[in-house]
Amino acid sequence: MSTLNLKIEFGGGLELLFSNQRSYQIALPSLVPKDNSTAEESLAMKEMKALDVDYLIHHMRDHMLQERVELFMEKDTVRPGILVLINDTDWELEGEGDYKLQEGDEVVFISTLHGG
């Protein structure tokens, strides 16, 4: 099965939820379950879709987040107050969670909620 290499970055204090590491290189399958389930054994009988940002967020929650999921996600997407940039472009211009990830894409998550 083919995989895509992605770069994930954190800013604005969000890295504190992810082992205090600001940058990650990860590889994810190019086809993933449509229901965003990230458990390995569940792949066989599922309806699949091309890898998108929604799936990436669920993968980050299930396999990268160290603590306090409520500070990262709310209702199947990132919590309001977290900015997402895809290749330095506001994800609101790229279809948000529906954006289909490409090889080498860089996704940045920045919290706006930490002190001024």
């Binding site: 604005g12 309001p80 330095d88 211009l93 001024g116």
Partner: protein, 354 residues
């Protein structure tokens, strides 16, 4: 999706969706409109006049870091003729403020602005670490808020500035409007939206980012690669404010204009005369000379409680009566240096870049 062209220059690739307008614009146009809107806020409210000495309240966080950068940019671009300073308050919080002050020290060099750091320890003889070890984590934010406000004014007097600008943004102000509504604090509701406040003889304070959305401030810092510090204060248990903020972010997600709409609502509350009449007249604190609505200012009241081992006496009526029953303050009580407003020539030394 195919890349879209910038709605303003039609050339660059759109990279930001503006929360206020929904407009999709490129990075260079975003810098330009963000800076120009702050400039318009400044000129429309006549915040400054040429020759003003202005201190930027700098915490090392995103808002004040972007404010320092934008103030420097606009002062040069439009020749405001301002002398700019960085003013930081060191609350004495190990692992939080010491790290953020390192950021401010780097900003001092990056922006080439003189920096003054004033600490709670030198002013009050108490760090926040020491205060928390005595009062616990319940009322510590009350101490910190009162002490910071007075420390900023005193820092401004030391720098001999006319004016303090702070990084409060549109989201902060909308959040404060909501909290004042929830508390029923009508007097403060009208005041908290004003861009510039000045009491009887206090130093002017203003908020050039009053109409700047937090999202745009963070985007600006990201695209400009500005150096800022972001962690939560380790003593900040202000759950109420946290709920107000989460509620506001939910509203913004549903309708981005909610933030400006709430600020406009706050502005629409005029303080009626009879409410004004019940507000106390300002006088000066008999112990330290700072502006006060009582004989003693809030900081002196809180400090006396700390020094006499009854920290709650500045917080609850019952504890205050108990303190009064123990007699007047002893003569050797630690007090805050006498406050004098800046006048004449500055006689201070500021930290020099190392």
């Amino acid at each position: 999706m195919a890349p879209r062209a910038c709605a303003l220059c039609q050339k660059g690739k759109a990279m930001v969706k503006r929360p206020k307008t929904g407009q999709q614009i490129c990075r260079d146009c975003f810098f330009y409109v963000f800076e120009t809107e702050v400039h318009n806020t400044i000129t429309q409210s006549n915040l400054f006049k040429p020759g003003d000495r202005v201190a930027i309240g700098a915490s090392g966080g995103k808002d004040s870091t972007v404010l320092a950068y934008v103030m420097k940019t606009l002062n040069e671009r439009y020749q405001y003729g301002l002398e700019l300073f960085l003013l930081s308050i060191d609350e004495g919080i190990t692992g939080y403020r010491d790290d953020s002050l390192e950021t401010v020290k780097r900003n001092q060099e990056q922006y080439d602005m003189p920096l003054k750091i004033l600490s709670y320890d030198e002013l009050y003889g108490w760090t926040m670490d020491a205060i928390v070890s005595q009062v616990g984590r319940k009322n510590n934010c009350t101490f910190c808020g009162v002490f910071r406000r007075q420390a900023l004014d005193r820092g401004a007097a030391i720098l001999n500035v006319d004016h303090i600008v702070t990084g409060h943004n549109a989201d902060d102000i909308a959040e404060t409007v909501l909290m004042n509504i929830m508390r029923g604090d009508i007097a403060r509701l009208g005041r908290c939206t004003s861009i510039c406040t000045q009491g009887e003889d206090t130093i002017r304070r203003s908020k050039p980012f009053k109409y700047a959305y937090e999202k745009e401030i963070v985007m600006y810092a990201y695209f400009k690669k500005l150096d800022y510090f972001s962690t939560e204060c380790i003593y900040s248990p202000d759950a109420y404010r946290g709920h107000a903020r989460a509620f506001l972010k939910d509203l913004e997600a549903a309708r981005p204009s909610a933030i400006i709409d709430i600020i406009h609502s706050g502005e629409a509350f005029e303080i009626k005369e009879e409410i004004k009449a019940t507000q106390k007249v300002q006088q000066t604190c008999k112990r330290c000379g700072y502006m006060s609505s009582n004989e003693l200012c809030k900081a002196c009241t809180l400090l006396e409680g700390l020094e006499r081992g009854m920290a709650n006496s500045g917080i609850t009526d019952r504890a205050r009566k108990k303190l009064e029953a123990e007699g007047p303050a002893p003569d050797n009580l630690r007090t805050i240096p006498y406050f004098k407003l800046a006048s004449g020539n500055p006689t201070i030394t500021v930290e020099t870049p190392s």
